[in-house]
Structure formats: structure tokens, C-alpha cells
């Protein structure tokens, strides 16, 4: 049990510091470690947890569900602290540094350099997730359709997710 908690803490605190461009960037790595390396959950469960946590603020609490499955509520809380602790400390240090003189010259350069990395990671994580979560033809159809819909229109993401849930239930039923 303590061993599992330590594994959870180690895994998520590393991912915390790699999550450039927000939590989505780490999803493929998180999935590989939780499913293939530690075998805490299946690929199917990972996608379920992703769907459950996506609509609940701040949208990245999937780590809590993974920790909860691996080691109960305590595991969920350890995952939470490990995932948000290191990055929060870094955010705190950054805002302190930022208000010192001299940071302004670097700011724009860093922001410009990070933009394509962030955008690439966001799209890549979506593709990697679709490929590795036992997607069938209908799953790919739904992902492609919602990608188009949400890129081209101002449809509410929660409404779209709800509609797709109902659609797949009708197909299965």
C-alpha cells in the first residue's frame, strides 16, 4: 500500500513538471504509465475517467480517479498533491521572479517559443488518446465529428459531450 502511494507520488510529481501547455499534454504518458507500466487501470477505464473528469473544474482531476482506483481515497489525494504541488510551487516562484526588473525582455521571447509547443502537445495528446483507448469506428467518427464541430462552431462542449453520450447509448441499446 505504501509502495503504491509512493509510486503514485513519484509518477504524478514528474508529470506535474512536464505538463507544458496544461494538463492535457501529459495524458498519453499518464495513460501509458497507469495502464501499461503499473497496470492500475485498463485503457477503457482511462477513457471513462477522462470523460468523467473533463467536465468537472479544473478539468484535470483525472489524476484523482487514477489514484483512487490504485489505492483508494488516500491514493486519490496523494495523486492530487503530487500533480498540482510541484507545478504550483513553480508558478509561485515564477510570479515572484516576474515582478523583478529584467524579466520583461525575456517574457515575449519565452511566450512566443512556448506557443507552438503548447499547441502541438494539445493536438498530439488528442490523437494519441484516440489511438490508444480501444476506439472503434464509431468512436473515431464521434471524435472526428466533435473536432470539426467544436473547431468551426461555438457549440457548448458540455452539450456536445452529453449528446454524444446519448448517441452511443442509443447505438448500444
Amino acid at each position: 500500500m505504501t509502495g503504491t502511494l509512493l509510486q503514485i507520488a513519484a509518477m504524478f510529481s514528474v508529470l506535474s513538471l512536464l505538463a507544458f501547455g496544461g494538463g492535457a499534454a501529459t495524458l498519453p504518458d499518464m495513460q501509458r504509465q497507469a495502464v501499461e507500466v503499473h497496470r492500475w487501470i485498463t485503457a477503457r477505464e482511462f477513457l471513462d475517467m477522462f470523460a468523467l473528469s473533463r467536465a468537472i473544474p479544473p478539468g484535470s482531476l483525472i489524476v484523482v480517479l487514477i489514484g483512487q482506483k490504485a489505492a483508494g481515497i488516500l491514493g486519490g489525494l496523494v495523486a492530487l498533491v503530487a500533480m498540482f504541488g510541484p507545478s504550483s510551487l513553480l508558478a509561485y516562484a515564477t510570479v515572484r521572479l516576474w515582478h523583478r526588473a529584467g524579466a520583461a525582455a525575456w517574457r515575449e521571447t519565452l511566450e512566443q517559443a512556448l506557443a507552438p509547443v503548447t499547441i502541438g502537445l494539445t493536438i498530439a495528446s488528442g490523437i494519441a488518446l484516440a489511438r490508444s483507448t480501444e476506439h472503434d469506428l464509431a468512436g473515431y467518427g464521434v471524435t472526428a465529428g466533435t473536432t470539426l464541430l467544436l473547431t468551426l462552431t461555438r457549440a457548448h462542449p458540455l452539450m456536445v459531450m452529453g449528446a454524444c453520450a446519448v448517441l452511443m447509448m442509443l447505438v448500444a441499446g
Partner: protein, 187 residues
Amino acid sequence: MANRSTPRPSLAALFLSFLTIGSTSFGGGLMGWIRRELVERRGWIDDQQFLVCYGLSQMVPGATNVNLSVIIGTQLRGVPGAVAALAGLLLVPLAILLTLGVFYFAAHDLPGARLINAGLAGAGAAAIGFNIATGLRLGQHNLRRIGPVLVAAAIIVGIGVLRIPLIEVLVVMLPVSLAVTLLERAR
């Protein structure tokens, strides 16, 4: 970190504001809810300060919304402010999620769970589409030159297609992107 002439909220007020934000922003758009509560309703920071905080929260690794809460909390009340903001933001969502988790783990092996699983699969496939669409929209607005487009494309192929681990991609692509930016600025 002196704020201009903005009033300094009490820790309790800060906590309550973030509790409100965490309880109302289901479905996404958290950044918009934070701005609405802190800039428009409370007036604790102005729009310019908000944008600086948002930019900073994107540069630091970690969930952008969580970073934004920490940074604004720090800006307003130092370390205790950051803790109050984070606790307020996460309290209600966390309670709901842990409860949902208990139900999910108990229910999804039952025979009647086939429909629920199908529904979750549909929502999950749509959530993936939401992620890709967010990336495409950001690209539309922020990638206007060939260098940055190639950097983004290389990352998409490396992680999405070739499944190279995140850390290896970042070790290579962060310096490359910085070099591309510096080269473009030098011209």
C-alpha cells in the same frame, strides 16, 4: 508585489470567491469564470493584471487554471492567498469527483452497466475531439509563420503518431522552438 490601488481582499473573501468559481464552472471555461468573478465582480485585479497572470500561468508547466489560481492568490495575499485560492477552487469539484469515482468503481462491472459504458465511451470520444479542437483553434490564432507551424507539426507527429515519450520530445523541441523564435526576432 504591491498592487496598484486595488483593495486587498481578506483570506476568507478570497477563499469564498474561488469556492464560487469552482462550484459554477462545470463544463469548462474556468478562465472566463475567474476573470468574471475577480475582475468584474470584485475588482481585486484589473484586466491588464489578469492577462499578465494568465500569460504566466501558461508558461509554467501544470494545469493552466490551477496555476492561474495560485498566481492570482499569490499576487493578492502572498502564500496564504495562494493556498486559500487553491483550496476554494478544488473543494467542491473534488468532493463531487470522489463521490462519482466511488459510484463508477462500484457500478461499471455490473451487467446493467453496458449502457453506462457506451455513454461514457461517447462522452470520452467527444472529450478527445474537444481537446483537438482547442489545439486547432489556438493554432489558428497563434501560429502564423512557417517555423512555429513546423515545430507544432513535429510534436504532433512525434507524440501522436510515433508515440515518443513526452520528456524526450520536450528535451529536443523546447530548445528548437526557442532557437526558431530567436532567429525570427533577429531578422
